[in-house]
């Protein structure tokens, strides 16, 4: 392993590996202190950033942070690295890459061409040198467009995952939240339920129900029940209609093992999903969730900082051409991201790194009640994501997930971004909203229809 020295302010700092430089260069967060890998002082942190800035990108191809022999994610990263794509920046250091990304040489086109040439560790490294405005400005240049039954990720648009969770998976309760969300213009990224139970029977019932709703109301969107990939394969084997295949993933082989998956299992899930041929506009059908701290919480971080581990998960994701990737930034709790400041920065880092690597990034802008965060922090992060060009956010009634017991963005929050930044839903869904008389959007302003859409009036009639 390489040793790195940096002298500044009359002090000489020594770092014994690339992983140590990366960890100590990371902006402060509780999870890195918990892991014992954070810089011991602010001075050491900046010295590590200066050290990192001087390291050639090519060095990342020589020093694997987790040995090639020991970890299939490392093998995936190295084996799938695209040298010709890398050529555009292969002469640069990490600091030079930051300057290049901010320069006019980095355009939507050149960044798309570069993506397969960057490893996750390069992306993580450069993000550690970037301020919030840099993370936003570069991400904004990038567009990653994916298609299944609609088109997500186009410039000027932001989609929402309607998340109609219910503490006992009660169908009428789920349906009530779905209707509420649709009538607030939510759900173009997907109708996606986190089930309370993991029984395959109830999973299949939920999939059939979501498919029925999408068909009955001709909604140009897709469905997902967020269960283990092996359960999705089982549902597909039983002939149940399944659109998106979900799985939580992490950036090390051992952390993925703690989720009960590996690359082979994910491949099987991907192929099972493709076999159904349910996408009408495209075949992006994997839906991955990630989050800083997951590798550490599985004690599978190999002494790396949590943001570097997180970025390595994006190598796993991009191998399967996902429809969406969601960093669930504030869910894991204050031992990994302590407060609003840490959550906001981590969310923007994940979005930037994911986009830079060519992923359709969204974010669960969220927090738990034991974190030092509140709605104001979420408003700030949401606003920044709108500017950064995020593909999708969550949408839930009144920000309150009554099953998972955390707070995420609401149907109203998405409308706030539409009003304040003029961002529209996916084009196919926008047309559906207009056709149904739910709302139209012109010059940024959202104008709701005066009456309940007739189709939904019929569903509601017997309730009265």
């Amino acid at each position: 392993m390489a040793r790195f020295f940096h002298s500044v302010g009359g002090e000489t700092y020594r770092f014994d590996s690339l992983g140590e430089v990366m960890a100590k260069a990371s902006p402060a967060r509780s999870g890195d202190y918990l892991a014992g890998v954070a810089a011991a002082s602010d001075g050491e942190r900046v010295a590590a950033q200066m050290t990192l800035a001087d390291i050639p990108l090519a060095h990342f191809l020589d020093e694997a942070l987790i040995p090639y022999e020991a970890d299939e994610v490392t093998r995936l990263i190295i084996d799938s690295h695209d040298r010709p794509a890398f050529a555009a920046v292969s002469h640069l250091t990490v600091g030079g890459l930051r300057d290049w990304l901010l320069s006019d040489q980095a355009t939507e086109t050149s960044l798309r061409a570069l993506a397969p040439g960057l490893t996750p560790e390069m992306a993580a490294a450069v993000s550690k040198l970037m301020r919030v405005q840099d993370l936003i400005l570069v991400a904004q240049k990038i567009r990653v467009v994916t298609r299944f039954r609609n088109t997500v990720g186009l410039r000027g648009r932001m989609s929402t995952r309607l998340q109609p969770n219910h503490p006992t998976d009660e169908p009428s309760g789920i349906a009530a939240s779905i209707l509420d969300g649709l009538l607030y213009g939510n759900g173009d990224a997907m109708l996606g339920i986190n089930p309370a139970t993991d029984s395959v029977v109830s999973l299949c019932e939920m999939l059939i129900m979501l498919d029925g709703i999408i068909q009955r109301y001709e909604i140009p969107t897709q469905a997902c029940v967020l269960t283990h990939v092996t359960s999705s394969i089982e549902a597909i084997n039983r002939g149940v209609p399944l659109d998106l295949v979900f799985q939580s993933i992490a950036g090390t082989e051992a952390a993925n093992a703690s989720f009960g998956v590996n690359l082979q299992v994910l491949q099987e899930g991907y192929e099972a999903g493709l076999s159904l041929k349910r996408g009408t506009l495209g075949n992006n059908l994997m839906y991955f969730e990630t989050g800083q701290g997951s590798a550490l919480s599985a004690n599978a971080h190999h002494g790396l900082d949590q943001q570097t581990c997180e970025t390595r998960a994006y190598a796993v994701a991009r191998h399967f051409k996902p429809f969406l990737v969601n960093t669930v930034v504030g869910f894991i709790g204050p031992e990994y991201l302590y407060n609003g400041k840490q959550i906001i920065r981590a969310g923007l880092e994940d979005h930037f790194c994911g986009k830079l690597l060519g992923l359709p990034m969204g974010c669960d802008v969220c927090y738990t009640n034991h974190a030092e965060a509140d709605q104001d922090d979420m408003d700030t992060l949401l606003t920044l994501f709108g500017v950064a060009g995020i593909n999708f956010i969550m949408g839930i009634p009144g920000s309150d997930d009554i099953m998972l017991n955390y707070q995420t963005t609401s149907f109203h929050d998405a409308l706030y971004v539409r009003q304040s930044q003029g961002l529209k839903p996916a084009p196919e869904f926008e047309a559906w909203l207009q056709r149904m008389g739910i709302f139209t959007q012109a010059d940024g302003r959202v104008r709701f229809g005066d009456n309940l859409p007739p189709a939904f009036r019929r569903a509601l009639a017997p309730l009265g």
Binding site: L34, E170, S177, I178, M209, R216, N369, G398
Partner: protein, 271 residues
């Protein structure tokens, strides 16, 4: 000429009837496209309650006195997390006892050798409120059942700034065959006082969650004391019979999750 009536700035949703189908915050209406003031403040109050529950200090003394009233002894312990800020950022410290507590348990063990069937531990966890409200009535119910079946119980170990796994260390030092910990769960917006129970057979330091069985959401709006106690006694009998706990010990006493709808209507969108 009639004076013009002021136009309301908020729009109500005509689907408010759906609220009886779910505790979710649906049909909130809108001011422009934003939350109306009432809905906004309802949310802020719920969040404030949850925050207050997280930061409420653990009232050792009141619980100890309440137990003494029933002739139950208690042991006052503290985890290695000195305060709430440390507790929230260092889960590893919340899983271990501090030095004074280790000495206290050591002295107790010297004076009371022989061990027990079940060590009973209570920790504040993420909601002291849950413990203050539900620990004593639940324990009264549970002990009634346990005594009837002849199980021997330890004094109640009250652990401040404790996490679930701290129960393993307490139980090991009390030479207990099994342990149950009553702990405040992470508060949700609508559930600041939810109590969780974690049960382990053959507890020892270093076990993971895979060795534990959980009985969650014990509170007035959730699982009753009686049902939770019934489940715990079931787990104790089965664990002793099969000599294990955790993922391989399914809670067959559990009632199915998918119950009939309150309104009996199912998915009304597909009628």
């Amino acid at each position: 000429m009639q004076p013009e009536l002021p136009v309301s700035a908020t729009t109500e949703n005509p689907w408010q009837e759906l609220r009886r189908l779910t505790p979710a915050r649906i049909a909130l209406g809108r001011a422009g496209t934003s939350l109306p003031t009432t809905a906004l403040l309802d949310f802020q109050y719920a969040h404030a309650q949850a925050r207050d529950a997280v930061h409420l200090p653990f009232d050792h003394a009141a619980l100890s006195a309440g137990l003494a009233d029933r002739g139950r002894a208690s042991l006052l312990l503290h985890s290695a997390a000195a305060d709430r800020d440390t507790y929230l950022q260092r889960p590893d410290l919340g899983r271990r006892l501090n030095e004074a507590s280790i000495r206290h348990l050591h002295d107790y063990g010297q004076a009371n050798p022989g061990g027990v069937d079940l060590a009973v531990v209570v920790a504040d966890g993420l909601s002291a409120l849950a413990v203050h409200r539900h620990a004593l009535p639940f324990l009264a119910r549970m002990e009634e059942l346990a005594n009837a079946e002849g199980w021997s119980l330890s004094p109640v170990a009250l652990v401040a700034q404790g996490r679930v796994a701290v129960a393993d260390e307490v139980a090991e030092r009390l030479n207990a065959k099994m342990v149950v910990i009553l702990i405040g769960e992470r508060p949700g917006l609508s559930s600041p006082d939810s109590l969780g129970l974690y049960f382990t057979y053959a507890p020892r330091v270093g076990l993971t969650d895979a060795y534990r069985n959980c009985i969650s959401n014990v509170r007035l709006e959730g699982q009753s004391y009686g049902m939770a106690a019934h489940r715990l006694l079931y787990l104790m009998r089965e664990a002793c019979r099969r000599q294990l706990s955790g993922v391989n010990l399914k809670d067959e006493a559990q009632v199915p999750c998918l119950e009939a709808t309150p309104a009996g209507m199912g998915n009304f969108l597909l009628r």
